[in-house]
Symmetry: C2
Subunit: 454 residues, 2 copies
Amino acid sequence: MTERVVVVGGDAAGMSAASQAKRMKGDALEVIALEQGSHVSYSACGIPYWIGGTVGSVGALVARTPEEHRANGIDLRMRSEATALDLDRRVVEVRDHEEGRTYEEGFDQLVLATGARPRRPDVPGVDAAGIFGVQTLDDGERVLDALTGEPRRAVVVGGGYIGIEMAEAMVNRGLEVTVATRSAEPMATLDPDMGRLVHSAMERMGIDVRTGVALESFETGEDGAVRAVRTSAGELPADLVVLGTGVGPETTLAAAAGLPLGRWGGLVTDLQMRVFDAEGVWAAGDCVESIDRVSGNRVHVALGTHANKQGRVLGTNLGGGYATFPGVVGTAMSKVCDLEIARTGLLEADCDAVGYQRLTVTVESTTRAGYFPGAAEITVKLIVERRTGRLLGGQIVGKEDAAKRIDTLAVALWNGMTVEEISALDLGYAPPFSPVWDPVLIAARKAADLVRDG
Amino acid sequence: MTERVVVVGGDAAGMSAASQAKRMKGDALEVIALEQGSHVSYSACGIPYWIGGTVGSVGALVARTPEEHRANGIDLRMRSEATALDLDRRVVEVRDHEEGRTYEEGFDQLVLATGARPRRPDVPGVDAAGIFGVQTLDDGERVLDALTGEPRRAVVVGGGYIGIEMAEAMVNRGLEVTVATRSAEPMATLDPDMGRLVHSAMERMGIDVRTGVALESFETGEDGAVRAVRTSAGELPADLVVLGTGVGPETTLAAAAGLPLGRWGGLVTDLQMRVFDAEGVWAAGDCVESIDRVSGNRVHVALGTHANKQGRVLGTNLGGGYATFPGVVGTAMSKVCDLEIARTGLLEADCDAVGYQRLTVTVESTTRAGYFPGAAEITVKLIVERRTGRLLGGQIVGKEDAAKRIDTLAVALWNGMTVEEISALDLGYAPPFSPVWDPVLIAARKAADLVRDG
């Protein structure tokens, strides 16, 4: 007997799940995928680079087209929005925006991959023309349209990943760029001392960085378009505004259907990506909360790499196989111009919040042997549990070849290693790639000394 | 009471040990360090880059000068060769090549850091002018001298790390370069299928690579200088020859004093770097054998990073502290022109030799998101234990930003992770740094599928 799956959401998690389940079960599984927008399976993380001109065309960001999914036997329906769920009757209500009609679709299994929703600041003028989010390819097209009007000044609201990446994009497009953030430093996903390094580097790149700033309103001109951002630190003139004010899980549909949500408003699943207490309902991607393996808490991390992994795990289980998503350790990375930024694990404030007593060490070194051309500065910060010396978090800021070293710390963290153990690791060494003591090892060694001394 | 330490060997291991012990014990420890050559504490790994002109001056390779060591209270004696040991009388016989005299020096503790000795091919003509090893800074100076004579054709004997690095150096100096190796492929520290990729890349760079070649003799001209290398595959004209035929532990002194040696001729120590069954004798660096954590066997790996770590561990213990060197997992890396090469763990042949049944997976991917400028090719090979799925080894060949990913595998290997576990790791992702599935994760995922299927 054929089983019918409805997948809500056609980006990384949803289509990975659909593809994997279909690959495993073939004709025994009917897969209907609903995507409200006009693109599927694209790299949202690539949008700032497309807008900035680093990536030439939107097509490059699309991993798989609707036609390719259909050729794989998935009944993919574009511009089709799931507007309601009835879990008792096992039906989803679908609004077909193309045809302008609404219908019901029945399912045996339901996959929720509804993604994340940008947080829009609740201030006057936020809906004015010239103010853009950068969540979807459609958003990206709107920003590119606006750039054809040759704006001169861009204000980026928010100093997180999207904020700094869009600041770089606007610099690349030749605009004067101001970044306004309410945090003490940009990149609040780093400790402030590391964020400070990002701040200084952005200023050296000519970006005007305003920190500790409260947003008050968006001022519009006579044409109704934004002309300035009013903040607690004064008015910032703007021909174009980018909102990088973070995202939360998009779970409106799930909540309305009575599914329980976690602390951050996301769906909560078991290790196989089954929604708890909801027979035949699965979820993956930016709409779920994940286990943070360092703190033991659930967290919400909207990141393409998790969405892809979770989707694949979900699809494997839905397809009759077995796989688990064992959680995250909070690894993330980005860059702004030539500055690379990476983090994993807990920040100092996170440690305090969950009750870890901590020691910290920060070291400066180089990415290659000091004498080797191209050796670039790198700062590594480690956060370590007192007494046990167990690594709790790591942060890296530096130039070329700095950031990917976060993986070493992420794997060490995943395995619960102490800094003493980390300092003995057999990492790759050759002068073009590392000093004889890799910066990560230097940091671990110093941290181990600190642990020993109490 | 002051204790007296004699350190034999003034490079990474010896001087790290001397410095660390002195730092910890101060005046309570008298440290005499004997160096037979005219440099200490230098990066031997950097020599090919200095010869190739990538690194401008020999001074750049020196981490610490004799004067700096002396300022730290170490009685460092240059051009002073330890010629004999008497462990009963606790004296070392020293030949002072500067003053032309021989004397005895007593010790309470002895540190052997005598390094590695290049293996010289036992064929006629090997001592001819124009044939160079590249083990020490003095060797490097001799090669640079020879280059002033504007040689046209270089033959590099051996296709390992030194071989390929010197091939690149000679290419950079404008020479026609032939690499002759007896192995089936260059880089015999990789499996032949991965070595094949190196071979092809070297040929694309204009290097003439001769594999499976037996060395017969070096032919000299009337001036006594080398003019060709005679091999089983014919004669290779040469104005300059570089020997990259590997190294073994330099333990002549230790052996003559009756210290027991391991399977590879190296000294064997406990975790604190004390030589077994030799009270008050320590050893570190290229003259010792280390525990290979994957096979459980002792191995000889001559590498600056181990020498530095072992020296520091030794010095810490000698200084009254506590540290251990828990072994290696066989991580190493290099490059030839724009090709990056890295390995960790066991090769296929190593697995067979120690009795691991294995599966292998090789994947091709890119170093960045496929659509991101600068995304470069990367090939990742994993070797995995049958049934358990435990990682046994990994090899990476690729272009810019490929090789340092070996660290992820090295840490996973260190922790005994299975490929199923590795495939779930939370590695850093952003389009300028990685595809959404890092190449290492793709390889682990495919390997996990293979393990599941038997």
